[in-house]
Subunit: 139 residues, 4 copies
DNA sequence: GTGGTCTAGACCACG
DNA sequence: GTGGTCTAGACCACG
């Protein structure tokens, strides 16, 4: 699993692929911190800039999370709690605006679920913390 | 609505904010083409690189879509078709892997809905084309 | 075997790959004429310019041969005649200069073999028409 | 040594000729970097596209080598090591497939020598790094 | 700031 | 009607 400079695949995409695979394989465990950008650059023989782009890709996928001054960690995928939808309920999925991200405290690369129930204000939750099912109480 | 060089907010984030607002306001209509990267750079007095970063932000939000050689267009948000969930059905939302993106032909910044119904193979759809409701037929 | 616009592989490289495979498979036989540039562009849904680049790639590999006003044909690979090298003989391979190409009447993408035998003038032959072996008469 | 727009010789061929001559004359030394595409376009009063085509010609001849983000350099022709062929040995020259190019790490415009010796697996080497002679040990 | 890809569209040369 | 040349101009990847 190495960088191939003759490939048409951009270096940062190659690195993102490698890291994604290492994460899936458990080699980089959920919650663990990735090597520093500098280390990754040295290890894989690419520029730090390409490393940063690779991490941005993984962030936008919700795979890792970067905290300034601390590093990049593998996002621990939360347990999903079940939400039952009744006949009149409606759920729409979309990406958050940056303001919503800040407000709700949602990580980059995590979609939003907007749950509308008749007679109630909309509820907005990070879509990776829930799963939806039918069979909720009818209104 | 201008770039403020004294602000701590990065220039590309400022530009992304400005463009997002112009899009919401209808100043940049759905389906319309944004000014070229070069024009945006000149108009707002920032580097083309910052412009590119701003566009990457909007792409990852599913707000715009870039086609090589053609330009960047405001994504037309599709009509959402309604999907009713029965008691045993389950929906999980997540971001697609790059392979899924390629396979399903899904734009950047668009989440995925995985619909599991008992006795049927999982169905995977772009989450911005659907909305979910309860009251589906029980299995 | 289709063009994948989401791939990082350039369109013209993808088309070159497709055509190379069709040629190897015998679907496009040696000596046969390829579809016109326009037809290829329409068939594969890319611009004529990308088609032209794909053909240039195949030409530089000696796989096809283009004649103005006639079209592009699959090169018939010639039988290779055997040349035996003696102890003092020497063979150097290189790409021809354009003048040599014109002079010797050699197709694009075909290397040149320069055979030096003691006491004789150098012999220059298209390298795809010969194969070399040892065991030639010593000088 | 200038571009002649009245000539029937295509502009990019004229430029390729000019650059080839400058390289042969040592004006552009082996290993040195050519002017940027933009500079060449300005210097010779042609479009960047014609410049790019001229460089593609020189690349396919193995005369120059382009590295993305760095520029185009005059290829340093390597020393050729001598390979002696015995009576049963056989050498065939051909252009590499793109996969072989990637695998062997061979530059564009460099032919391949396939050396078959009885009882041994084929050996594949860049043809510009070797020269062949007879008089090898018989098998 | 480097080279790379892609497109559209103009006109040219050849058979 | 074939392929060939040439340009302008867009975005992309990398350092």
């Amino acid at each position: 699993m190495e960088i191939n400079r003759r490939s048409y695949v951009p270096l940062h995409i190659q690195l993102a692929d490698i890291l994604r695979r290492r994460i899936r394989a458990g080699d980089l465990a959920a919650g663990s911190t990735l090597p520093t950008e500098h280390q990754l650059a040295t290890t894989y023989g690419i520029s730090r800039d390409s490393v940063r782009k690779a991490l941005a890709v993984l962030r936008s996928e919700g795979v890792v999370m970067t905290t300034r001054g601390e590093g990049t960690r593998v996002r621990a995928v939360p347990e999903r709690r079940r939400i039952a939808l009744g006949p009149g309920d409606e759920v729409v999925i979309r990406m958050p605006t940056p303001e919503e991200r800040a407000e709700i405290g949602i990580d980059e690369g995590v979609p939003l679920a907007v749950i509308s129930r008749p007679g109630e204000p909309d509820e907005i939750v990070p879509a990776d913390e829930v799963k939806f099912t039918g069979g909720g109480a009818p209104q």
